[in-house]
Symmetry: C2
Subunit: 335 residues, 2 copies
């Protein structure tokens, strides 16, 4: 749906926004950390300024621009979403005992669990302070609700670990909370900050939800189909951890009995046998489970884009092109 | 300064406030957790409704009453401080690998590290949502600043682990951030919510800071002098963990060389030798280090109380008696 050439202006825009958000984060950290322990600064800078795609800040910026506002404060608002996102990554990595993140050592691995948990807490507080200051009561409520929804999504995911009876509906409930809620709140609060109408705010919230779901489906697909060198993650990791995501849920529902048994054995521990994962992988391919998942992601993203038609293309061509480019990138990305 | 009979009305008041705050927390959790994972509810109820002194909610209530407001919302505001406090306890216990808290298994021990970290994050978000809703922008800023100060205090404390050169001033910087900042913010935001004047708000913030410092000094004293059965903590635990608190800092600064060497050896690991801690303990007693610390706590608390004279005793006799009773309790408590 989107050719690779359409992605060039998207990347240029993301890069511009990312640079400005990073500059804003540096200034904000300097201001907020006056008189604080130097190790706290070091941990926060390490966690925040070590690359990252900066998709959330970019979405906040475009959402606000679509509603008519683009000023310095917008980049501080955008930084708050990166703060919260990074806080959740740091805490998730402690929970998962992850060694690496974004191509470098995870915060908990490098600075210890205490520093990681505490730095995450600091980022939580700072992000809520910024959102409350810049987007008021309503913005804060949306933001806190998204944070609580993320926690609930993680609990739901824990509940379904190694649950071979998990349904497609339950999978969608997990990713809606775990991933889409923060992305949706980013667009919604960006629109609110930008002075959008009720309809504009709702449309951008829905766009965020839909592309958030699409994003997570593709993320789960990359766990099976990605190149380890490119994604920086071990292929089939979800299999090993007992996370049942869409391709596997589809395969379990479609496989005839012998195939289903291969999958079940693989989930239940026989995956250590040589070739077990390869067999399962081939089976999922043959059953069309990857294709099914990719189509589902495409459908979500398409629905997200269609709702943007309420914005005037003549006035907002550039911003709409960015959101469309992002949608295309989400579906075609390989990392 | 306060006899034990003065504490009776304090306890009755605390009990009344605690019951109402607990009822409010239950209702708030029910409301906020509709449709959420049942394990999340279970973890939060376990963490929040397993006793606790409820000193912070009580301080929020009295501070608001002193400024003229006492209604249902006040108890929801008060609950938010308990949420944040419990969030920090849960995360601290994960960091310290603590087995027990408030006489029962720590959350991380009972439900696992993932559930503990996530439940703390949920409580962070919920508390900020409540404070932002009930105490507005200014209240949220004070609350977020206190949260960030707590994190900074923990980092400062980590920096000084086993640091035998730590000064009294550095110790006070740690406990000001780690403990006093949240207690101070509780009184300050309570006063703000209650519609207090600038002077009233400032006075209650200072009262909170001073009794917070006094509270932590006594907490650190109880680590040496407390009864294990009563406090539920191992006596001399700070010694074992290399936390240098006021009695030890005083002893190190006052001891003649041989005594100082006994203390240093004990801090550096010879404490496993039979009787090493007992010798250090006796030395600290002989040097007047416990008495010195108790006097420092008394002085802080006295300064905190003196600032309350701006409130009219005829109108606010009951509330002032509670704050005075709390000050006395802080100094004489044995758990």
């Amino acid at each position: 749906m989107t050719s690779s050439t359409d992605i060039v202006p998207l990347f240029a825009f993301i890069k511009r926004v990312a640079a400005r958000v990073e500059e804003t984060m540096r200034a904000d950290l300097d201001r907020a950390l006056v008189g604080n322990d130097p190790l706290l600064s070091q941990v926060l800078e390490y966690a925040l300024l070590n690359s990252g795609k900066r998709i959330r800040p970019m979405l906040a910026v475009v959402s606000s621009r679509l509603c008519g506002r683009d000023d310095d404060d917008l980049y501080l608002l955008a930084a708050a979403f990166e703060y919260l996102h990074v806080a959740t990554l740091i805490h998730d990595d402690v929970i998962d005992h992850a060694e690496n993140r974004r191509g470098v050592e995870a915060v908990g691995k490098k600075f210890g669990v205490a520093a990681a948990i505490l730095a995450g807490d600091w980022l939580h507080a700072r992000s809520m302070h910024l959102i409350g200051t810049l987007a008021g009561q309503q913005g804060l409520n949306i933001f806190c609700d998204a944070t609580m929804a993320m926690v609930d999504g993680e609990f739901l995911q824990l509940r379904h670990v190694a649950d071979t009876a998990i349904t497609e509906e339950q999978y969608f409930a997990v990713i809606q909370r775990k991933t889409a809620s923060l992305i949706s709140s980013t667009c919604e609060i960006g629109a609110l900050f930008g002075g959008g109408t009720v309809d504009q705010i709702a449309a951008l919230a829905t766009y965020g939800t839909k592309i958030g779901i699409g994003f997570q489906i593709v993320d789960d697909l990359l766990d099976y189909l990605g190149d380890e060198q490119t994604t920086g993650k071990q292929v089939g990791n979800d299999f090993i951890e007992g996370k049942l995501t869409l391709p596997l849920i589809h395969a379990l529902s479609q496989a005839p009995k012998p195939g289903r048994n291969i999958l079940l054995n693989c989930i239940r521990g026989d995956r250590s046998l040589a070739g077990a994962c390869d067999t399962a992988h081939q089976l999922m391919h043959d059953l069309g489970s990857y294709e099914f998942s990719r189509q589902k992601a495409g459908q979500e993203v398409k629905e997200g884009l269609s709702i943007l038609k309420i914005f005037d293309r003549d006035r907002h061509g550039e911003s709409l092109a960015i959101l469309e480019g992002l949608a295309g990138y989400i579906l075609t990305r390989d990392r």
